[in-house]
Symmetry: C2
């Protein structure tokens, strides 16, 4: 366990509405979703009222890939940048996936299915984020399902973006391995001469 | 455009409830979701009542990566297997992502954000699927948001599984490129001797 790993925002933080600057920013970022399922300002503000303010110094591990003990919340990044990598799971070395900034969600998929974290996320710079716990999501679903569905669609869209970017990265790796294999074939041929 | 590409189920198919065998199967598969957000039989049946039955012979291209014209529906696989690859986008060669079977969703992310298809899906064997159009999803959201949210969570979980599997594949590729680079270094060293 990384000593700097984040605690769940439900136990370590205060409501984001206590800091209006960040509450407004969170609502604005939530509203930047697909036009088909856009949140009204009132709906975004309601979601924000369920969120906790969390802050991490640069270098903090927010989530560790494979961690199944710490899946009860997701974060909406408000300030700072976070690197996402595969972690060192199964003895394989870690591979960078992406670097994300304000508006990005992290930890949102494990929140819904309780499965282990799929990636390791590390704060590159000081990070301010809005945390939503699984209890908060559950309350939203029960009280305002029409609002909850827009949030869950925002989550699915975020996953969709990441799938596209991973898929492109896979193609790039495939191209690199093909090039390396050709180089090896040429070196072997040269060695035989 | 592949001549065997699928037409939207809304124009080419009949309601799945006309074939009870497949309607029951679709409802059962939909209910295999996370215990936290499980659909009741009645809820699953309601979703199924909005679905169209679609069948494709082996070899059909169901979706093409990058296609932005054909994003108005998703499919729940009921029978048969489908291969998923990156397509030949941007001149890069296609890379296999996975092979999926009954219970898997395809085309579900583009359905929500209208963005181009992220992968190419091809029927390996004859495929039977239940298609849900964006209109059907919209109707579900308006009439039964509590049910719609469970479906959207099922969709997000499916994306989550795919993200994990892509992430593992990326690590594997990274390992392969490291091995190939080492081999090249050794061949170069041997050539100098």
């Amino acid at each position: 366990m990384n000593p700097a790993a984040a605690s769940p925002p439900t136990t370590s933080t205060r409501s984001i509405t206590e800091v209006p600057e960040f509450a407004i920013k969170a609502a604005e970022l939530l509203r930047k979703t697909s036009p088909n399922f856009a949140l009204t300002m009132q709906e975004a503000n309601y979601i924000v009222s369920l969120m906790r303010l969390v802050q991490f110094p640069a270098g903090t591990t927010l989530f560790s890939a494979g961690d199944a003990s710490n899946t009860g919340y997701m974060l909406l990044l408000l300030e700072g940048d976070v690197s996402v990598d595969t972690g060192n799971t199964g003895g394989a070395s870690k591979v960078d996936i992406s670097s994300i900034g304000p508006g990005a969600l992290i930890g949102e998929l494990a929140l819904m299915d309780g499965s282990p974290r799929s990636a390791t996320c590390t704060a590159i710079s000081p990070v301010v984020a809005a945390g939503l716990s699984s209890g908060g999501l559950q309350r939203l679903i029960e009280q305002f399902p029409q609002v909850a569905i827009k949030l869950v669609i925002y989550i699915a869209q975020s996953a969709s973006d990441r799938l596209r970017s991973l898929s492109e990265q896979l193609q790039m790796y495939d191209q690199i391995t093909n090039n390396l294999r050709q180089e090896i074939a040429q070196l072997r041929l040269a060695a035989k001469r």
